[in-house]
Amino acid sequence: MRTLEALLIALLVVLSDTYILGYTPYTVLLIPYDIGVGRILAWLDSVGLLKKLIYSERYDELNRILVSLLDRPFSLEIYTVNGTLVFQNGSISKQYRHPIIYVITGVNGSFNPRIIVLRV
């Protein structure tokens, strides 16, 4: 009788979980902790987000994604190849110690490099 009771409770919990998962939009962005912040930009590039957001000038969206992925303060700067700053969030502070530089050279075969500097 007790086993039957246990099975019934488990069934109810699983059914309610399945219902919630089935009707809730979710995106699983599972990044192994070992990757660290140093590989965030490379990872975003590999899934196609980095170029898409930068060349369509959706910098704020990129900033929001980084805020959700990094659990610490950061500064993001994006430069053209001539050194012109096209985007910066916040001000560069001494608290950011590790600059991570990643370069994207263009999109769809164009040559229009952007230099991304992420300071954490």
């Binding site: 246990a6 699983v14 990872w43 590999s46 164009s110």
Partner: protein
């Protein structure tokens, strides 16, 4: 242990087992964990290689330039930028990128079967492949109907076939599934371009 505790224990075990089995449903997106940080450089090189391939293949198909010439030109420009930013940290001689092209022929159709880019940095290396196969040609109607398989592959994500969306010039296209497409060829030369800008062709004899 009383009977109530036994019930809770059984419930916990069942929930844990079912939760673990549910977790397998998710397909996590992650990059392979490698101890050395030079893995970032591999991603950087792959990113450049894909753009160089897009540039090179477009020049090759549209302008009859040799693939290697256009590819090398793009790579040279990109590496100048990388070197300028100091990303290489003095290890500029520790990398290589090469590009290969394979022309295939089946069902009296000549086509670019493979673009293969291999790159290495330090002791790590990677491969990026653009794969095209002609599976069948139906000539019974007015215009030939060609069934193709098209996908990308990267050794950085070895368990994933990277599917792409494509558009054609000189024909009409229908997508059958993730990698199989049906092209109705309206001319003898059909040019295929994917969403990354990589261009290939089919020539019907």
């Amino acid at each position: 242990m009383n009977s109530r505790s036994q019930v809770y224990l059984i419930v916990c075990i069942i929930i844990i087992i079912l939760s673990l089995s549910l977790l397998n449903v998710f397909e996590p997106l992650y990059i392979s964990v490698v101890e050395e940080d030079s893995v970032v450089m591999l991603y950087q090189l792959e990113s450049i290689a894909v753009e160089a391939l897009a540039y090179g293949s477009t020049k090759y198909v549209m302008n009859n330039t040799t693939l290697n010439q256009a590819f090398s030109q793009y790579i040279y420009n990109a590496l100048c930028v990388l070197n300028h930013t100091g990303i290489f940290k003095g290890e500029v001689n520790n990398f290589s990128i090469t590009c290969h092209l394979t022309i295939g022929r089946s069902y009296n159709v000549t086509y670019v079967k493979l673009y293969k880019v291999t790159y290495s940095f330090s002791s790590l290396n990677g491969t990026y492949v653009v794969h095209l196969d002609v599976l069948n040609v139906d000539r019974s109607s007015i215009y030939p109907v060609i069934k193709i398989r098209y996908y990308h592959y990267s050794s950085l994500t070895p368990n994933t076939i990277r599917t792409r969306s494509i558009e054609v010039m000189g024909g009409m296209i229908l997508r059958d599934n993730a990698t199989i497409f049906t092209i109705t060829a309206l001319s003898k030369e059909v040019i295929i371009r994917d969403d990354l800008g990589i261009t290939t062709f089919l020539h019907i004899d």
